[in-house]
Amino acid sequence: MSIFFNDLGKHQNSIVFTTIDEQISYNDLVFEIEKLSENLLARKLAFIICENNIESVLGYLTFLRIGIVPLLVSKSIDRELLNDLITNYKPNYIWANKDYTLSNDWKITHSNRTFQLQESISPFNHEFHPSLALLLMTSGSTGSPVLVRLSYQNLIQNTISISDSLGISKEDKPITTLPMNYTFGLSIINSHLLNGCEIILTELSILSKDFWDLFKSRKPTTFGGVPYTYQMLKRIGFEKMDLPFLKKLTQAGGKLDHNMSKYFAELCLLKGIKFFVMYGQTEATARMSCLPAEDAVKKAGSIGIPIPNGSFYLVDDNLDVINEADKEGELYYKGPNVSMGYAYNVNDLILGDENNGVLATGDLAKKDNEGYYYIVGRKKRFLKIFGNRISLDEIENITLKNGYSCVCTGVDDKLYVFTENEQDVLELKNLISAKISIHHSAIIVKHISKIPRNDSGKILYSELQVK
């Protein structure tokens, strides 16, 4: 079985990374990994403040290869939150842009391009479970972040299943359109490294001219997007763009509504692009299902069928398995990519597999009579905003901690906040936007004279007007 982070050398002189400034081969990458590995110790904890550049991926692969457990952090993380994570998890190494200067408790021991490695001068002795490979933050986690514990097998197996589902081969050439600390973005990098592909790494946004200049000169064959990416593509006239080298598009990170799904399925068919809709969660390493491109039009709106080695089943309120078609229930997934569990603090890093390969997704779904699955709603109170999962209860807790009172509800890409205090409206909007790192236009704060409650004081969310 091929292991994407160990078997890099076999792709030899093929190009691995292209950026605006340079290109390096798999051989160059292995050489740089070996150099960075010098003097590093196995079974330590490292934080990577990720950017879509060679340095970040180099650090990630180096740590995986020598058995250091990395936590991937977004470069736009709230600094206070980052400091809390450092205090709580006591990393031994921090691999980040040279702009991230830390206190005197850290010394710089290595540098590469724009990044440097900082080592703690009083290293903490972590106890790790031997299977623990990688830590990811659940998307949009706030306040006290929850980490997902992934094993080496989770990573290796999911990477192979994704590669098989999409038929990835050496000729595929992705360009990054999602952050690498985001599970979907990371899985694109992993699955293409497995196949010895060239990967174009960029921080540029699809709304910038420089992105499309790079795109036209480097001719990527594939990229992935969350629902909001597809809305932007539609708006900037993707329909009229002439990109004959583009062969595959993938969509995940939330439900693309039925009309958009159909629009892109039909457009891609016309343009000779294979369009794959996928479904995943960080708790399942990255992806759980795939709608094959040939079914994209016929089954628009579906998340498809489970990836190889995975299976779905639906469960009703009595926890009985549903066998008939078109009946809704909570979606469960079983497979080798289901994470070991969560970590709430540093002591949890020694815990073993708590999920035993089974994940209750929290999504409500149904299955048609041909075995294709459709997401129809949610069991838990959360929203997907620009691909990030946002817990409504958590936002209520954060605002409470900051001295405000409000209740939250909403639909995907739109969070509604209701408060009884009119003077708090603007402050709430700014506070929430900052704390969850979500653009303020996705947050609507409304004043309401009385929050609807039932006799026992329970909030009646269904009576709050969302429109």
């Binding site: 946004s205 709304l207 932007m232 009229k240 763009m241 653009h439 236009s441």
Partner: protein
């Protein structure tokens, strides 16, 4: 101004794409929608992705007979 939460004195040649936290891809889409609505225009692909700064935007909008 509303799209990026900036004040009117920040509307100058220094206001460029991703120079303020709120002018990200989401802010950009919001701004395009707001401009289209305010001036009753329909912007083209090249103009949307070329709109990398306040000054460039003023120049592009002239094409649509919008004078700032």
């Amino acid at each position: 101004m509303e799209s990026f939460s900036v004040s009117s004195d920040q509307l100058n040649e220094n206001l460029v794409y991703q120079s303020v936290p709120q002018w990200d891809s989401i802010g950009h889409m919001g701004m395009v929608a707001a401009l289209e609505e305010a001036f009753d225009i329909m912007m083209e692909t090249d103009d949307i992705i070329d709109f990398g700064s306040y000054n460039k935007g003023v120049e592009l909008l002239a094409k649509y007979n919008v004078v700032i």
